[in-house]
Every structure is written in structure tokens, then in C-alpha cells.
């Protein structure tokens, strides 16, 4: 581990500790409204100030971190697994299977997902607790967010399909499943990692957009997504720069994850 990686690892550890002990550390419950202090600046009572309804911003940030850092990677993992399985198999096997997978991917990319998501939301029952609605939102993202990754992974798998080491493995009688798991997947692992890390901030932002449409994390539960919705009012952010903290935290977390990861050269 180089020094930069160590710093990134320490930052991530600290954020995870904060996330785990959020319940103890927060100055106030995340949903409690201090109605005499809406949009307040930082103070000893509210170190990061309050939001438009007077809720403590630090408490909401810590709880929001817990929601987003647990569920966005879970959704990213699900979508990357689907993409890895379909993309690697399609690239390795080629032929009709590859054509079908890519056709389904193209079709899926062409579908108006926004309207489908709205339809799905309209069909869901209304009286679901906020936590269940959060899980449903991220599950939908995980199940529907694999298409772009499939194309990338499939192209990479196609690139190594005729490589010497695979030829050798095949000539040694290696079965397709073993080929996929023992030879193709390890070679594509950096790509899987990249797709996974790229998906995390993407899902966090998608959740923010879905919240606007009533599909994401519902009030009063915080998430990075709905905390980032505060940026709609840019002039308010300019006047209260501490509101940038959720964005800064998002950038730090994503960068730290990228740095902590073993680089492609190392994994190969």
C-alpha cells in the first residue's frame, strides 16, 4: 500500500466508523425539526447548521451516509454481478448467445425506464415504511442498471476470447464454466471493479433524481441523494457554503474507494 492508499483507507475507515456510530454521535434525531432555527448556520448545537425545516444537517448527513453507503454499493454490486455474468459469457461464447445478450441490452437501453419506474411506483402499495421504500428503490436500480456495463465487459471478454492462455486452457479440456470463472473472470476483474465503483456515485445521484419523482428515499429519512437535492437552490448554497458538505463527502468517498482499490497492473 502506498501512502496515498493508506490515507484513503483511513478516511474510509473513519467514515464507516461515523456511519456505524451515527446513533450515538448525532446531536439530534435526524427528523426532529427545530422550527425556530430553519436554515441556520453552523453553531455548537448544530455543527453543520440546519436545513429549510430546521433539521440538524450533521445528523441527517450521518444517517444519510449510512443509507447511501450501505445501499448504493449493494445496488452497484447487484448490477455489476448481472453485467459480469452476462457480459463475460456473451463475450466468451460469442455466436447466437452474444447476439441475443447484446440485442436484449440494446432493447433494454432503448426502453423509457423513467416511465416504467413511474408505473412500477404507481403499482406499489402506499403504506410501506420508509426503510422498505429505500430498499425497493435501490433494488430497482440494481436490477435495471446493468446494461451499459454489459457492453463494456462483453467487448473486453471478446478481446481475450482468442488469447493464447484461453486457447491453451481449451486444448487442455477446460469446461466453459471453469474457463469463465478461472480464466476469464480474473482477467476482467479490474473492469468489474471499475464498473462497480463507477456505479456507486451514479446510483446515489439516480436515487436523488428518483426522489424528485417520488421513487427514491421518502421524507423524513435522509440519504445523500435527497441531501444533494438542496443544490437545486444554487444561490442558497452560495450564501451557505457549509451545505456543500454532502457533495464534498460524496467526492471524498468515491475518490477514496478508487484509491484504495488495487490498480489494474497489480491485479494482473
Amino acid at each position: 500500500m502506498n501512502p496515498l492508499q493508506k490515507v484513503a483507507a483511513i478516511i474510509l475507515c473513519m467514515i464507516f466508523v461515523l456511519m456505524v456510530f451515527a446513533t450515538i454521535l448525532v446531536p439530534a434525531p435526524y427528523a426532529r425539526q427545530f422550527r425556530d432555527a430553519p436554515n441556520a448556520g453552523p453553531s455548537t448545537a448544530h455543527p453543520l447548521g440546519t436545513d429549510a425545516l430546521g433539521r440538524d444537517s450533521l445528523s441527517r448527513l450521518l444517517y444519510g451516509t449510512r443509507v447511501s453507503l450501505l445501499l448504493a454499493p449493494a445496488a452497484a454490486l447487484l448490477s455489476t454481478l448481472i453485467a459480469a455474468l452476462l457480459g463475460s459469457a456473451a463475450g466468451l461464447l460469442g455466436g447466437w448467445f452474444e447476439r441475443i445478450v447484446l440485442a436484449v441490452t440494446d432493447l433494454s437501453l432503448a426502453l423509457p425506464w423513467l416511465f416504467l419506474l413511474l408505473t412500477i411506483r404507481a403499482m406499489l402499495p402506499l403504506d410501506v415504511p420508509p426503510m422498505v421504500s429505500v430498499i425497493i428503490a435501490f433494488l430497482m436500480m440494481g436490477l435495471l442498471g446493468w446494461q451499459a456495463s454489459v457492453r463494456v465487459i462483453c467487448a473486453a471478454a471478446r478481446g481475450i476470447r482468442d488469447s493464447d492462455f484461453l486457447l491453451l486452457a481449451r486444448s487442455s479440456g477446460c469446461k466453459p464454466a471453469r474457463l469463465l470463472l478461472r480464466h476469464v473472470a480474473p482477467n476482467l476483474r479490474p473492469l468489474f471493479y471499475a464498473q462497480f465503483w463507477i456505479s456507486i456515485p451514479l446510483f446515489i445521484l439516480t436515487e436523488a433524481n428518483l426522489s424528485i419523482l417520488g421513487l427514491g428515499v421518502m421524507e423524513p429519512m435522509p440519504s445523500w441523494g435527497n441531501l444533494l437535492r438542496g443544490f437545486e437552490d444554487f444561490s442558497a448554497v452560495a450564501a451557505n457554503p457549509w451545505r456543500l458538505v454532502p457533495l464534498i463527502l460524496l467526492v471524498i468517498v468515491v475518490m477514496s474507494f478508487q484509491l484504495v482499490l488495487p490498480s489494474q497492473e497489480v491485479t494482473q
Binding site: A31, R32, L126, D127, G214, E219, P220, E232
Partner: protein
């Protein structure tokens, strides 16, 4: 030679004189006013107007017999010098101004009024404006005893008849230009779909100012079609447009910080925000929840437990006022001033709930069968104010042990649940009200009406108080005496306050942005807030906003 030069100079002076002294007669000096339409005008036919953009054009171009003064809320003579409604409320007689002409020069006579009224009542035309006049079976009779007299007789009494003529722009019976020939202060000179509508000053407009100068002062109005409110505000701040007719509290505060002189808050408007519980018998809800929602004490307790003052102060930044009931205090005549002021009282709410068999156990409210009181409020997604109000209501009701979930839905899904499947528990929405008269609310209060949202389209009234609402609304709509109508509608407001089928939350203020360069503006609480006196507006220089004359 000198004499010849003098003659030439004199001739030149004589020839040029009209352009020096008479310039004002052909062009005004009021400049060109710019503002935005928030959508494409669907029609220029004033009888077919349904949406805001067309309504703006109708207001600025249409000449009406009687005009409602948006500031005093009093009816004033327009194209009619005087009018008289018969005691039975079926006939109205107008005396028209003589010597007037449409914008294309066609003379205005009683024939034009007769032509307009017949078109308005033509069932083939499906005029939304005409719907207000349909009082009963039978034909409308229009007599024109002279060129300046019109007598219109309806088959049945029409309540508030003369007020309805504020919406009827008179069409020309003879002009080749049809609806483009107008009697209002401006006429449509150019229209580029998706881009702009250009209105020019009507040289034949009848009104004059106190000094006898012809109105309007403005030479033209350019209405840019702009749906995006952020861009609209940005353009206002750059000085590219001179006014924004309706502003949200958030935009208002932003503007007030930058240009206090441009931000105008005219006080509580007619619009209200409210929530209601689903009382539809066929709704797919557990029976015990339906019982809560049908209990008057439950609804009243919820109403008492909501802190409306906080909603107004926090969500609307103080640009809203706690709502009393279905009529805003801005509606001077119809508002029932005897209604009790809504008070936040969570202790009183708990007392009321206890009386109805609810009990608070471990900070959770339960009904007499032990069911925990929780419900889901739906509202339309993307409306930040409503989401914030619902979140605040969540906290207010948690104080009395009620758990509230909030779900935002896209508008079509919301309407589907409200009007077809009835699969919801409570809903928070708002009402944009442009009509002062209670007849505009017939489709809300009659138990058979579609917009009787808590339990629409009832074959017969489900409760005694709804039957009484039906009776009172019908009585006021058929009465011709305003005092009697007011008395009936006061009782309607009283019943609504007692039963709380709609829990009124706030009345939003009427806010607008008007550049200091615009002279003669006087924002009103009634729509159009910023340009209701368009003929009296003119532009001066305002370098701060970059407005140009």
C-alpha cells in the same frame, strides 16, 4: 431668391408640422412591455379560452361589457355604460357606449353583443366560458331594440349574472378578421409559435385617462413563451422582461434580496393548500381506517394538531397565511369573517380524540379496537412546498401519537388514485382559485360533483351535513339577491369549518415581480396580479434592470 427660399422653407415647415405635433396620435410613448407566457396559447378565440396563456391574451385584447376591478373587486362599466338585472335574475339589459370601433375599424353595435352571446351559448362551440351561463333547459333570447341596447334573457335565473360578463370578450359580427378584431387595449399583431406573441396598441381603444389622453400608454407588449421558471427569473434579473405575474415564495425571497423594489407581495391570494381524508365507501382501505376518516372528531383533531402558523412561516417564508376555510380573506365579499381563527392546540386535539374513543398509549394513538393510528399522505412529486408541508405535518401529528407516511406520486398516478381507484388514505393538494363567486365552487361542494374529493359522485348525500351543503349551494346559486346568497354561503363555510372534510392549511400570498421601470403598476391579489391595469402601464428608464423604453 430669398423670397423663393423662404417659400420653400415655409412649405417644408407646413408639410412637416403634423409629424412634429401630431406624433402622439399615431404612436404612444409608453414603450414595449416584455413578459413571459408559461405555455403556448391554445387559442385566440376568447370564447374557447381554457388555459392561462390564452387567458392572458384574452385579458389584454378582449373588450368586455363589464369589468371587475381587480383591486377594489367592484364591477365597473366597460363597453356597457350601464346595465340592469331583472328581479327574477333571468334578464339583463345593457346600454352600450356609442361610436366605438373594433381594432380593424369595424363599428361596434348591439349586433356584435348579440352575435357573441349566441356564439357563447352555441352547444356546438363547447365554450368553457359559456358553461357558467347555462342555467337551465331552453334557449337564450337576445334582443337588440337599438344599436346601443341589448337585452339578454336566460331560461332560468343565473346567480351573479353581471359578474360573468367580465369573462366575455365581444366579437365582431361583421369583421373579416373575426376573433382578431378586438375592442380591448391591445390586438395580436404577430405570433410565432413556440417563441412569442406580439400585441400592438389598439388605436381604436375607447378608454382615456383622466387628462383625456388615449389609452393604453404602451405601444406594444411582447409575450415570450417560456415554460422554465428559473429562466424566467433569470431573464427578469437581466432586465430582458419587465414583470413576472406570479412568483413562488422561494423565488420571491431570492429576488427581494437582490432588488427589493421589484418584489411585490399583495397579501393573501385566493389560492389555498389543503388536505383531506378518503371517505369513499368503495375505497380499498381497511374498514377501521374508513371509520376514523368518517369521524368528525378525528378530522377536527387532525386540523387542531397542525401548526398552520409554522407552515406559513417556514415553508412559505412568511408569504402565506393560515387558512380559515374554502374562501380566502382576500375575497372581500364572500369570506365569512365570523369563522373561528384556526388555532394550533395539540392538547385540545387529544381531548377531542379521547372523546371519540381514541387513546394514547406509549406515545402511540390507538382506536377503541387497539389499532395504531397511522396513515399515508400522498401529494404530487416535484412540489417542494407540499413535500415540506407534509413533512411538517408528520412531526405535528407525531406529537399526538399519529404516524404519518409520506408518498409523492407523479400527477397522473395521483389523479388515477383520487378519481378512479380511490386507493389512498389522505391527500395534500392545492387549489388555484380565480373565481370570486361561490358558483365557481359548485363542482366541489355538491355531493354529486366529481370534485367533491373526499367522497365524490354520491348518488345521494352520505351525511346530513352534506345534504345541507347541497341545499345551501343550490339555494345560493338560484337566488338573485346577493345578501341572501352571502347568508347561504356563510353557512356553507360554517359547516365546512365544523366538519373539516377539507382541512385547509394556508392561503398563499399573491406575489409578483415588477421592474421599477414599469410605471403605473399596482399589484392586486386577483389574477392577473401584475398587469390587471395594463392600459395604464408605461415604461420609464431603469438602468439597474437594463429595461429599455
Amino acid at each position: 431668391v430669398i423670397r423663393r427660399v423662404c417659400v420653400v422653407l415655409a412649405l417644408t415647415l407646413v408639410l412637416c408640422w403634423p409629424s412634429f405635433v401630431g406624433g402622439e396620435s399615431t404612436s404612444q410613448t409608453g414603450g414595449e412591455l416584455h413578459f413571459c407566457l408559461r405555455g403556448e396559447p391554445k387559442t385566440f378565440n376568447p370564447l374557447l379560452v381554457e388555459e392561462d396563456a390564452s387567458e392572458t391574451i384574452r385579458y389584454l385584447t378582449g373588450g368586455v361589457l363589464i369589468r371587475l376591478n381587480r383591486q377594489t373587486q367592484v364591477l365597473e362599466p366597460g363597453l356597457a355604460v350601464s346595465w340592469k338585472v331583472s328581479p327574477d335574475g333571468r334578464t339583463i339589459k345593457f346600454h352600450l357606449r356609442s361610436g366605438l370601433h373594433f381594432s380593424d375599424g369595424t363599428p361596434f353595435t348591439s349586433e356584435d353583443v348579440a352575435y357573441t352571446v349566441k356564439a357563447l351559448m352555441d352547444p356546438q362551440l363547447h365554450s368553457p366560458t359559456g358553461d357558467s351561463f347555462r342555467s337551465g333547459e331552453g334557449q337564450v333570447d337576445v334582443q337588440t331594440p337599438s344599436l346601443d341596447t341589448v337585452v339578454i334573457t336566460f331560461p332560468a335565473p343565473v346567480a351573479g349574472l353581471e359578474r360573468l360578463f367580465d369573462q366575455v370578450a365581444i366579437l365582431s359580427a361583421h369583421s373579416q378578421k373575426k376573433e382578431m378584431a378586438v375592442l380591448g387595449p391591445f390586438y395580436v399583431a404577430d405570433y410565432s409559435p413556440g417563441s412569442y406573441v406580439l400585441l400592438h396598441r389598439n388605436p381604436n381603444y375607447w378608454k382615456k385617462d383622466k387628462e383625456g389622453k388615449p389609452l393604453p400608454y404602451l405601444d406594444s407588449i411582447r409575450l415570450d413563451i417560456q415554460r422554465n421558471r428559473d429562466i424566467e427569473l433569470l431573464r427578469f434579473r437581466r432586465g430582458e422582461i419587465h414583470l413576472i405575474n406570479a412568483l413562488d415564495a422561494e423565488y420571491f425571497d431570492r429576488l427581494q434580496k437582490e432588488t427589493p423594489a421589484a418584489a411585490h407581495d399583495a397579501g393573501p391570494g385566493l389560492d389555498s393548500e389543503f388536505m383531506w381524508f378518503n371517505q369513499v365507501p368503495a375505497a380499498p382501505l381497511p374498514e377501521y381506517k374508513k371509520n376514523w376518516f368518517r369521524t368528525t372528531e378525528f378530522r377536527k383533531a387532525i386540523s387542531m394538531a397542525i401548526n398552520r402558523a409554522d407552515l406559513s412561516r417556514i415553508v412559505y417564508g412568511g408569504h402565506a397565511h393560515p387558512a380559515f376555510g374554502p374562501v380566502s380573506p382576500a375575497n372581500h365579499f364572500w369570506f365569512n369573517a365570523a369563522l373561528p381563527v384556526p388555532q394550533y392546540d395539540s392538547v385540545g386535539a387529544l381531548r377531542l380524540l379521547a372523546r371519540a374513543g381514541f387513546r394514547l398509549e406509549d406515545e402511540m394513538l390507538r382506536d377503541s379496537s387497539g389499532n395504531r393510528i397511522d396513515f399515508t399522505v400522498i401529494t404530487n412529486s416535484g412540489n417542494k412546498s407540499r413535500e415540506q408541508m407534509a413533512t411538517m405535518i408528520q412531526q405535528d401529528l407525531s406529537q399526538i401519537g399519529i404516524k404519518v407516511n409520506l408518498v409523492t406520486l407523479d400527477f397522473p398516478s395521483l389523479i388515477e388514485r383520487m378519481t378512479r381507484t380511490y386507493d389512498y388514505e389522505a391527500c395534500l393538494l392545492g387549489l388555484v382559485n380565480t373565481d370570486l363567486d361561490p358558483n365557481g365552487q359548485m363542482n366541489v361542494w355538491l355531493s354529486s360533483a366529481e370534485n367533491h374529493q373526499w367522497n365524490p359522485k354520491q348518488a345521494k348525500p352520505a351525511t346530513a351535513w352534506e345534504a345541507e351543503l347541497d341545499r345551501l349551494m343550490r339555494a345560493q346559486s338560484s337566488a338573485t339577491n346577493d345578501k341572501k346568497r352571502k347568508s347561504d354561503f356563510d353557512k356553507v363555510q360554517q359547516i365546512v369549518a365544523e366538519q373539516q372534510p377539507f382541512i385547509y392549511l394556508v392561503n398563499k400570498d399573491a406575489m409578483s415581480a415588477i421592474s421599477p421601470a414599469v410605471m403605473g403598476s399596482s399589484p392586486s391579489v386577483l389574477d392577473p396580479h401584475a398587469f390587471w391595469n395594463a392600459e395604464l402601464l408605461r415604461l420609464g428608464a431603469d438602468p439597474a434592470l437594463g429595461a429599455q423604453k
